[in-house]
Amino acid sequence: MTREPRTLSRRAFLGTAAAGVGAAVALDRAPALAQAKELSFLTVASFVPDTDKELKRQFEEWGAKNKVKVRLDIIAHLQLQTKKAAEVQSRSGHDLTALGPGLGDADLYFDYLADLNDVAGDVAPKNGGWLNSDDYLIRGKWKLLPWWQPPFPMAVRTDLLEKIGEKAPDTWEDVLRIGKKGKALGNPFGTAIGHSGDANVTLLSILWSYGGSYVAKDGKTITINSKETRAAMEFVKRLYTEAMDPEVVAWDDASNNRCLNAGKCIAIHNPISAYESAKKDKVVVPGTQTEIASVIDHVHTPKGPVDRKATTGFWCVGVWNFSKNIDLAKDFLRYHFQPENQNKWVEAGHGFNMPFLTSLTKHTVYKSDKQYRFIPEVAKVTVPPSWPGPTTAASQQVWDLYIIPDMFAQYATGKMTLDQAIAWGEKEMQEIYAGRRRKQ
């Protein structure tokens, strides 16, 4: 005799199982009422681990003083975009968050960030004022505090310069000449021309140095189609074909560091991270016992025929307006931005993390090693990536989509003519800016 399946008992089983899982989940955490006040901070891993340790120390010290439980979560910078998007989507997560690279997050997440006008006002006078405060205001408000930047000097191999009878480069034309001679010896110049932050930085620096820009001061007019852009692109084509290896179009942010530390590149345009890791790992010049770090020097970011300008990753910090602890978060920011805490934090970072505060650009750490001597100088000529236009969600998108590197690469590699590449870049930028205007 066959029996009908007992559907009821199966459902009862499933119900019991579901209830069991629910109970287990519920028992895993304490009731909300019993939980102490907690402030959480999401940040990105610094290349100098001591920086994170110092931040954690300050955070815990502040937490102990204020009887607040604190939690510092550190992720790789490449993970930050995903994490931010998820937190905004669910309107929950951390109270404080790192933002960037770039100030554009303030515009992208304008409706989700708490106003920090009061904190910015409190912090500035104690630290000699903000470097360029107008740059950091988004739609007239402080939606984030610019936190730190890694300025981009030019790292050069002094032994190779000596070998080819050259001095450290001061202009982009010098870089081209040195790169050509270096390439002939198997030591080319190296800068990414692909989808990487370094490519954005270096190519924008060259564009400005030749007098070009991609958006006007009004933040609306696309200005990329100009004779200055043409001059910059012609220069980069020569740099690519005569002074670099073709692999640079596939480089990521770490590639130029590797190239310098492997003893291959004669020069790279990069923060001091490559030098610091070469020093730590005691990497030697191939075929010798000479440490690479001892034959690296850092000089000013090069100037072009018109200007000397650079940009970098503008790392910022903000407070989500869906946080339940906005006042506590602001209080911690005031604490962290106190001069003594900033001093210790910059010291821990060996100067890699330069704050956007005037007095800290004169920190003693920049005199502690001759390699750091030009960092404050580079910071003085460092502008936001949208310069001379304001930082907007559209400018952030131009950065995030690597429009500038793609435009330069398409001409440099011969995929497009000069006019085609500029027309392509112009169209992309116009669509991005028009799209953002429609959303507002």
Partner: protein, 281 residues
């Protein structure tokens, strides 16, 4: 043919033809191991052969993982999450696959296809709405958030695979059991499942592998360092700005491969028969 002749024959008909595929499959693993045992100075040196260790073996990268990171906590977390999600998913998969494979009811076929389509929805689309769900359930920043969400992509896969396997088991065996007095649940547990062990193990292996390798949900739903899984923890700690700790990353990848390798070594036969079930009827 003599024994020696057979051996030579198998060299040419079996081992040599297979060798390129074995090389292709094992090369990444070999490169990982070699890189994890090289000094940083050698890793950076372009004049050395990247596939060989010339300047001595170092265990420094493994020490870095063990001493300077929470690697072993991440390893345990990955294990807990993968085992938990796999057990839940296989049980649910069995319960879903059985009626879809055996019972005839309105919409059964469409339901089966719908489950398959669910499997095709990429996690990169699902993580944003799932974040809201996880937060509302109060599960964020706990391993439960992963144990509960991983089945969203594991259950459809297990169900689909087990449906195919269950269909290869002769229906008559179950009918005999029912004649002897078993109900549906008893038939499933006492008759079908013992016969379908290869299929279940295959589903479990796949589910475990997918959970073990998962990155996106683990990144988004869990933030505290001590609760991270291995995939996220290693990435977070060993990529610092434009400095990649290649030796440490490869050491993490080597250790991370071990549970999967061990699982497949033990259950390879089941795995193959589970996958190929239904190929020949």
């Amino acid at each position: 043919m003599s024994r020696r002749g057979r051996a030579w024959r198998s060299v040419f008909t079996l081992y040599l033809p297979v060798a390129p595929f074995v090389f292709f499959a094992l090369f990444p693993l070999y490169f990982m191991v070699v890189t994890s045992l090289k000094t940083n100075a050698e890793l950076y040196d372009p004049t050395t052969v990247p596939f060989l260790i010339k300047r001595g073996v170092t265990f420094g990268h493994y020490q870095l993982l063990s001493n300077d990171t929470l690697f072993w906590s991440w390893f345990i977390n990955s294990l807990l999450v993968s085992v938990g999600a796999t057990v839940i998913s296989v049980i649910l998969g069995i319960l879903a696959a059985y009626p879809l494979a055996r019972l005839k009811f309105f919409g059964g076929d469409s339901f089966g296809v719908a489950i398959f389509i669910t499997y095709l929805v990429p996690p990169s689309l699902l993580f944003l709405p799932l974040t809201t769900v996880v937060n509302r359930l109060g599960l964020s920043d706990s391993l439960w958030s992963l144990i509960v969400t991983y089945p969203t992509f594991l259950v459809p896969f297990c169900t689909w695979l087990l449906m195919g396997y269950f269909r290869t088991v002769p229906r008559e065996i179950e009918e005999c059991a029912m004649l002897d007095g078993c109900n549906r649940v008893q038939t499933l547990v006492r008759i079908l499942l013992p016969v379908a062990v290869p299929g279940v193990i295959c589903a479990a292996l796949f589910a475990f592998t997918l959970s073990w390798n998962e990155f996106l949900y683990a990144l988004v739903f869990v933030s505290p360092a001590e609760l991270k899984t291995m995939t996220v923890g290693v990435f977070s700690e060993l990529i610092r700005g434009d400095i990649y700790y290649w030796g440490g990353l490869m050491a993490g990848a080597c250790i991370g491969s071990l549970p999967i390798v061990i699982a497949y070594v033990f259950f390879l036969d089941y795995y193959v028969s589970g996958l190929t079930a239904g190929a020949v009827k």
